[in-house]
C-alpha cells in the first residue's frame, strides 16, 4: 500500500511539470505584457522609457528559457516569486484567496453531497417514475442555468425581496471575514454562493449516483442480498450504496478540485475574493508569475484531490486496498 502511495506521488511530478510548461508558454503567447498594460491601459499619455524600464525590472526581456528555468528553479528553494502586477510576494497574495476558495469549495461540496446522494438513490430506486423524472429535471436544471444568471437572480431577489418585506434592501456582505472572526457575517456572505454552486454541482453527482446505483442494483450480489431476505432499505443503503459510492466519490473529488480555481463567474457575481477571481485578474493583467503560481496551485490541488480520492477509493474498496 505505501508503495502505491509513493508511486502515486511520483506520478504527480510529470503532470505538474507539464502544467508548468503549458502555462508558462501559454501566458507568453498572449499579446501584450504587464508593463504595456500598466502604462497604456488607462489611456493616458506615457513615457516610452517607463515601458522599457518596467520590462527590465521584471526581467521580461531576458531569454525566455532563462525566465522559465529561473522560475522553475525557484520552486525547489521554496521561492514562488512576486506578483508582476502588485510586486507583492505571491504567497501572501494567494493565502487569503486560498482560504476563501477553500471555504466556499468545502461548503459547496457539502451542499452538493447533501443534495446529490439521497436524490440519486431515490431516483435510481424509483427509476422511471415521476419521482425519478422530478429529481432528474431538478438536477439537470442545476447544470443548465448559467451560474452568473443564477447569481444575478439571487442577489436581486434578496435585495428586492428584503425591501418588500422589511422596507430596507439587504444584500450579502461583499467583504470576506474569516469564519473564526465573525461566523455570522462569514456565513451571511458565503451561504448564497455555496448554495448556488452546490446545487449546480450536485447535478453531476446526482446523475453519477443514480447511474452507479442502477448499475449496482443489477449486480449479482444484490440478488444474493435479496435472496437472504434482507429488507430493501438495507439492500440499497448497505449493499448497493457502498459499491455505488466509488464513482460518486471520484466525481465529487474532481468537482472539489474544480471549485478551487474554477469559480470564476460566481466569485465575480458575489464579489468573493477567491482564487477564480484572482485567476481572471492575473490573466488579464498579464501577471505571468501570479498566473503561473495559480495554475501550479490549482494543478497541485487537482492531483492531490485525485490522490485523496484514490486513497478513499482504496479505503472503500478492499479489492484495491489489498492489492
Amino acid at each position: 500500500m505505501h508503495q502505491y502511495i509513493i508511486k502515486r506521488i511520483l506520478m504527480m511530478i510529470p503532470t505538474l511539470f507539464g502544467a508548468a510548461v503549458l502555462v508558462f508558454f501559454l501566458m507568453r503567447a498572449i499579446p501584450g505584457d504587464v508593463c504595456e498594460l500598466r502604462l497604456a491601459g488607462t489611456g493616458a499619455t506615457f513615457d516610452p522609457d517607463a515601458l522599457r524600464i518596467c520590462q527590465q525590472e521584471l526581467g521580461l526581456n531576458e531569454p525566455i528559457f532563462l525566465q522559465f528555468f529561473s522560475w522553475i528553479g525557484g520552486f525547489f528553494v521554496g521561492d514562488f516569486g512576486t506578483s508582476m502586477w502588485t510586486n507583492q510576494p505571491i504567497v501572501s497574495e494567494i493565502s487569503l484567496r486560498f482560504q476563501v476558495s477553500m471555504q466556499i469549495a468545502l461548503m459547496a461540496t457539502l451542499v452538493s453531497i447533501v443534495i446529490s446522494i439521497p436524490m440519486g438513490i431515490i431516483s435510481a430506486v424509483k427509476r422511471n417514475t415521476w419521482v425519478d423524472y422530478c429529481v432528474r429535471g431538478f438536477s439537470i436544471a442545476g447544470i443548465a442555468m448559467p451560474s452568473f444568471w443564477l447569481g444575478i437572480l439571487i442577489i436581486l431577489g434578496l435585495l428586492v425581496g428584503s425591501q418588500a418585506l422589511y422596507g430596507e434592501p439587504w444584500m450579502p456582505p461583499i467583504n470576506y471575514v474569516p469564519i473564526w472572526v465573525d461566523p455570522a457575517e462569514n456565513l451571511a456572505m458565503l451561504i448564497w454562493p455555496a448554495l448556488a454552486t452546490g446545487y449546480r454541482y450536485s447535478a453531476v453527482a446526482t446523475r453519477m449516483t443514480r447511474s452507479a446505483m442502477l448499475e449496482v442494483l443489477r449486480e449479482d450480489y444484490v440478488r444474493t442480498a435479496r435472496a437472504k431476505g434482507l429488507v430493501e432499505s438495507v439492500i440499497v443503503n448497505r449493499h448497493a450504496l457502498k459499491n455505488a459510492l466509488l464513482p460518486v466519490v471520484t466525481v465529487i473529488g474532481i468537482e472539489f478540485a474544480f471549485l478551487m480555481g474554477g469559480l470564476v463567474v460566481t466569485e465575480q457575481v458575489f464579489n468573493l475574493n477567491g482564487l477564480g477571481k484572482l485567476f481572471v485578474e492575473s490573466v488579464s493583467n498579464h501577471d505571468y508569475t501570479m498566473t503561473q503560481a495559480l495554475v501550479m496551485l490549482v494543478a497541485l490541488i487537482f492531483v492531490l484531490t485525485n490522490f485523496v480520492v484514490d486513497l478513499f477509493y482504496a479505503w472503500l474498496d478492499p479489492r484495491i486496498r489489498y492489492s
Partner: protein, 627 residues
Amino acid sequence: MDEKRLIEVEDLRIHFPLEDRTVKAVDGVSWHIDRGETLAVVGESGSGKSVTAMGLMRLTDNAGGRIPSGRINFRKPDGKVIDIVKQTPEQMRSIRGNDISMIFQEPMTSLNPVFTVGFQIAEAIMLHQGKSEDEALKQALEMLKLVRIPEPEKQLQQYPHQLSGGMRQRVMIAMALSCRPSLLIADEPTTALDVTIQAQILDLIKMLQNEIGMSVMFITHDMGVVAEVADRVVVMLRGKKVEEGPAEQIFKSPQHPYTRALLDAVPRLGSMRGHKLPMKFANVDVKRAEGEEIKEGAGETEVELEIKDTVRRDAPPLLSVKGLTTRFDIRAGVFGRTTGRIHAVENISFDLQPGETLAMVGESGCGKSTTGRSIIRLVEPTRGSVVFEGKEVVGLSASEMRPLRRDMQMIFQDPFASLNPRMTAGAAIAEPMVVHGLARGKEAEDRVIELLRRVGLDEEHASRYPHEFSGGQRQRLCIARALGLNPKLIIADEAVSALDVSIQAQVINLMMELQEELGLAYLFISHDMAVVERIAHRVAVMYLGEIVEIGPRQAVFEDPQHPYTRKLMAAVPIADPTKRKTELRLMTDEIPSPLKPAGYEPPARHYREVSPGHFVQEITATAVAAE
C-alpha cells in the same frame, strides 16, 4: 398436499411484460419436490430454468416479472402450507434465506466485494435468527467449517476477491445454508468452475444435504451433473416442461424427442472407448427434435459416424513447436520493477501434422489460451521456436507475419464477442479476403455466399448483424471467416465451450466435416475432456503451463499415466446415473499458482514414452518439491 411434499408448483406462469411484447419465460409448469429429494431441472439456455427458480423466491418481482397464474405451495418447517404466490413482500422476506435459500452460478460476482465474507454470512443469521453480531459471526465460522474451507478463522476476515472461485462458491453455500433451509435452490452452481472443483462442490452439496436433510432444486444444463446428483429430473424447453421422471428412467428411456436429442448430443466420457478415430455426433438436428409434431422415432437414423482418417502422417509437420515459453512480468513497486512472473506457458513442444487435431486440455489458467496466442503471435513468446510450414514464426515482423496469418486462423471461445457488433456477417467474412487481396467486389460477395453455405447458413444471412444470430450461428460465422483465407491450421480456443450441448455437437460435427473435406489441422483447446475425446486425434494435457502428458487420444484416455490426467478424468461427471460415484471425496485442494518470483527457472523436465507417441512427464523428486 402430500405429507412428503416440500414444495409443489402448479401451472406456474411467469411473464415479463415488456413494452411491445410479453416474454413468457415460464409458461404453465407443474412439478414437486419431496423432502430430502434432489430435483434437477435441465434445459437449454433461455428455457426458463433460472426464472422458475427465482420465481420460487419471488425474486422475479424485482426484475419486472409477473406471476399471472399458478400456485407454489410450500410447507414451512412448522408444517403449515403456504402459497408463495400470495405472500406479501414482508412474508417473503422471512422465507428467503431462512426456509428457502439459493446459490448462483457466478461465484465471482455473487458476493459483495466490499464486505468481509464473515459479515456476509452473519448478516442472514442476524436477520433471521435475531442473533447478535458476535454470535452470528461464531455461527458463520461454524458454517465455514461445515463447508470444509481451510483455515476458516482467517477466511472469516477475508474479502471475496481474496478467495478463489471454488472458495467463493463454498462461502455462498455456507451463506445459503446458514439458517438451515428446508429447500436449497442451486442455479448452475458449478458451471463456472473447473471440473475438479466442480466435483468437490457437488460432493459438498450432497454431503450437506445428508447432514441437514434438506431438499435441493438443482438447475443445470450439464447432463453429466444431472446424472451425478439428481433423484428426479424435469426437462424444460421454452418455458414449458417437456418431461419429468426419475433420473435413471430419463437417462435410460427418454420419452420426449427433445430429451433424446439432448442426451444424444451429450458427449460422454468413455464412449469412445475402442474407437481410434474421432466420431461425429448423431441425431443432433435439434430443430427437428424440438418440433413436437414429429412422430415418435422419425428421422432417428443411428449413424455413429467415425470420420475418415485425415491425418497425413508422412508429410512434414505443419506446425512444430519447440520449447515454447511465455511468461508475463508482474511489475510492482515504485519503479515498476519486475517482482514476479507468471509462467503461463513453460517449455512446450509438440508437432502437428496436416489434417490432424491436437487437443490441449487442462484446467482454467493452465496456459492453454496463451499457448495458442503465442503460436499465432498475439502475445510474444519469451523463448522457443514455432515453425509453421517450415518457417520460423517467432521474431518475424508484422509485415513478414502477414502472409503467414492467412494459413493459420483462430476461433475464439466467445462467439458473442468475437464478431464486431457493428459489421454485418457478410462484411466480417469478406474483410479478411479483401485485406489479404484474395478477392474483391463481386468475387468476394460470391465467396461469402459460398462460405455461408459451407457452414450451414444462408445467403440472406450476409446482411445481418451478429446480434441477429444465435450463439451457434455466430460460431459458424467465425468459422466461415476463418475459412475465407483457406487456412491450413485453425486454432480453436474453447470454440464450443459457450454453446449449448446440442449446438456444440453441431459445431463439432461441422468442424470434423471441414477437416475431412479440406484437410485442415486443428489445435483444439478445451477444458472439456468429453468433447476432446470426441474430436481429437492426439491429446496434450496441460498443468501449470506445462504439458504433463501427450499422446494419441486413445492411449491417453484409455491408459492415463500422469496422476493429474487421472485426477482430471475422475472428476468428470458421467452422464449416466447408474455409474454414479458413491463415495464422497471431500478434496479441498486448489491448483497452485503459476506466479513465480522473478528469476525463477523451473527444473528440467523429462518425458517418458509409454507407448508409441504417448509421452508422460517424469515426476521427479525435485519437480514435486518445486511445486
